[in-house]
Assembly symmetry: C2
Homo-oligomer: 325 residues x 2
DNA sequence: ATCCAGTGCTTATACGTATAACCACCCCCC
DNA sequence: GGGGGGTGGTTATACGTATAAGCACTGGAT
């Protein structure tokens, strides 16, 4: 049973006493094929008995389309938001008959990454926008990829994208701090590779709110946070880039004996589950992703069927006011 | 350029003025093939010019082996530990010529999941042990999967596994609490689906340490945590299942006005980056995964080549003592 | 001159599937 | 008794690749 090679549709055909074509017609129950109910069940029985599983590669070769949606996940450690988004997207696309596959993409990008993806002849590709270059997109198109969707902060002119509204996050956070009467407003920009660009985008948004905003570069490091906090005079409102940085600052402020929000107000972004547990409770900007998976799935499906072109979505932002501001 | 069908090795052959076989020999540079250097470069040029990318499905069909390592990730939200493990594993296997692909596996398990995976004809499968059943394993074997590796807490008798030493975590945590003179020792068992079994395993380990341990069921919920904390008398040592639960308890203890570690000691598990930011700093049990990816990759490679059989790894545990115990 | 060994390719085939095209049969109706 | 139209299949082929087997030629050695 286990030393043998996998059963093929030909094996099933022999076992059921029919031709291989009949097996194919039955198992895919192609509409318009004229096979008697009796033969159908004989074929299905044989397939079950032999443990037949179709060969995706062969099918792809024959039909010219794999039904695979390749998701190239970013290198940045994934939070619960991204994980949840992918899970929902998987469910949506699975329900429409696609096979969702995540591809680790070890640091490659551009044409090199695109070539690796193209080998699988995916029907669609969802990729971190920072991995996509124009030349890479050409490679994918040439390999027959029907739908290409970018995720990230920079709008790609060539492919529809799910954009994170980083500017909006910054603007919303700063407006809130101003409303609460905070005067020097400070925006933290993370120094880490991959986060820095987004930090700068959020800073731009912060500055668009109409008040002067001081930018401060910060690595995710307790000593640096302590040094930053030591320079505060009191009264500041700090937009901490995200909840993780906000938690870093809350700890540093606690160590320095500063009161939140009495001396300094802090606001994060993401509404992480763990960030609800800080004391004081952390105010934050929550990106609402709940509508994204279904819309992405619909868009992919339309692009594959060729009935629609690009469409850019933007997340909805919501301010969650707790105790830290 | 973009309305065309993808270039095949036959197209490359025509462009280079050679046969398709020659193209295959050159691009895979098969040792022992006698092709002149001049022809080789002509072929490579043509391939580059046409943007040729091999068709993985066709190759799989021909060779009978895909080189794909399918990783079926668990449904439980992934922490940085698991993410890091996968990333390293990806790198290791990528370096050995495998293609690592993550498969979302929307809640399916057993035979249904195995059939879905088998369609891709992976060379190896790394799966959450809770998704693997004996029948499922048979399906994979029958589909030609050479290496099957389980991850999780229950040792599978049939496949080698990377085991989390949940018992060890419990035992180590409780021994530490006892050393610090804590008298009633309490172990938290999470109520969430998927976490509960592991919680029970950690509880067994906790009880193997030789002192009486009270178990308490807890959902990840602030109100429940507050109710639990309200029942404490003081002096307790609490093993909180993991860092997230520990943070939940720290918040509840803070709200109740109890001092940590003065009144109650708390220890977690995982050494999450965010958990280093609590005040007091959280003591924890850190699973050391650094050796796992390389060992898993080696094991997979050996199983594929048929030069080795099973081998069970266990993570190394380390106690990190900070301020909460 | 003939044979042998090597070099540099080409020809032919099989992998597993989906589907267009064809075929045999039966029944009914003029 | 012959044509027409449904019913229930079968035969043949192509998808793109890897590789075994063969073939033409060249340059010695016998």
């Amino acid at each position: 049973m286990s030393g043998n090679r996998p059963a093929t549709s030909m094996d099933v055909a022999r076992a059921a006493g029919v031709s291989q074509a009949t097996v194919s017609y039955v198992l895919n129950d192609r509409p318009g094929s004229r096979i008697s109910e009796e033969t159908r069940s004989r074929v299905r029985d044989a397939a079950e008995r032999l443990g037949y599983v179709p060969h995706a590669g062969a099918r792809t070769l024959r039909t010219g389309s794999s039904g695979v949606v390749l998701v190239a996940v970013p290198d940045i450690p994934q939070g619960p938001l991204a994980t949840g988004l992918l899970e929902e997207l998987d469910k949506e696309l699975g329900g429409r008959g696609y096979t969702v596959v995540q591809y680790g993409a070890r640091r490659t990008k551009g044409v090199a990454a695109a070539k690796a993806w193209a080998e699988l002849r995916p029907t669609a590709v969802v990729a971190d926008a920072s991995r996509l270059t124009r030349a890479g997109i050409e490679v994918l198109r040439a390999a027959g990829v029907k739908a290409i969707i970018g995720m990230g902060h920079a709008p790609m002119d060539d492919v529809p994208s799910l954009l994170t509204d980083h500017e909006g996050v910054g603007a919303l956070a700063v407006r809130h701090l101003v409303e609460r009467g905070r005067d020097p407003v400070v925006a933290v920009v993370p120094r880490e590779e991959g986060l820095r660009e987004m930090g700068l985008a959020r800073l731009r948004g912060a500055r668009s709110a109409g008040v002067p905003v001081t930018a401060v570069d910060l690595a995710f490091d307790e000593a640096e946070a302590a040094a930053f906090v030591a320079g505060l005079k009191g009264g500041e409102g700090v937009f901490a880039y995200n909840d993780e940085y906000a938690m870093l600052l809350l700890a540093a402020l606690h160590d320095a004996g500063l009161r939140v929000p009495g001396d300094v107000a802090v606001i994060g972004c993401d509404d992480l589950p763990l960030a609800r547990l800080t004391r004081p409770r952390l105010s934050t900007v929550r990106p609402d992703l709940s509508a994204a998976p279904a819309r992405m799935a619909t868009l992919i499906d339309r692009l594959v069927r060729g009935t629609a072109c690009g469409d850019v979505d933007v997340w909805t932002l919501q301010l969650i006011e707790r105790d830290s501001t």
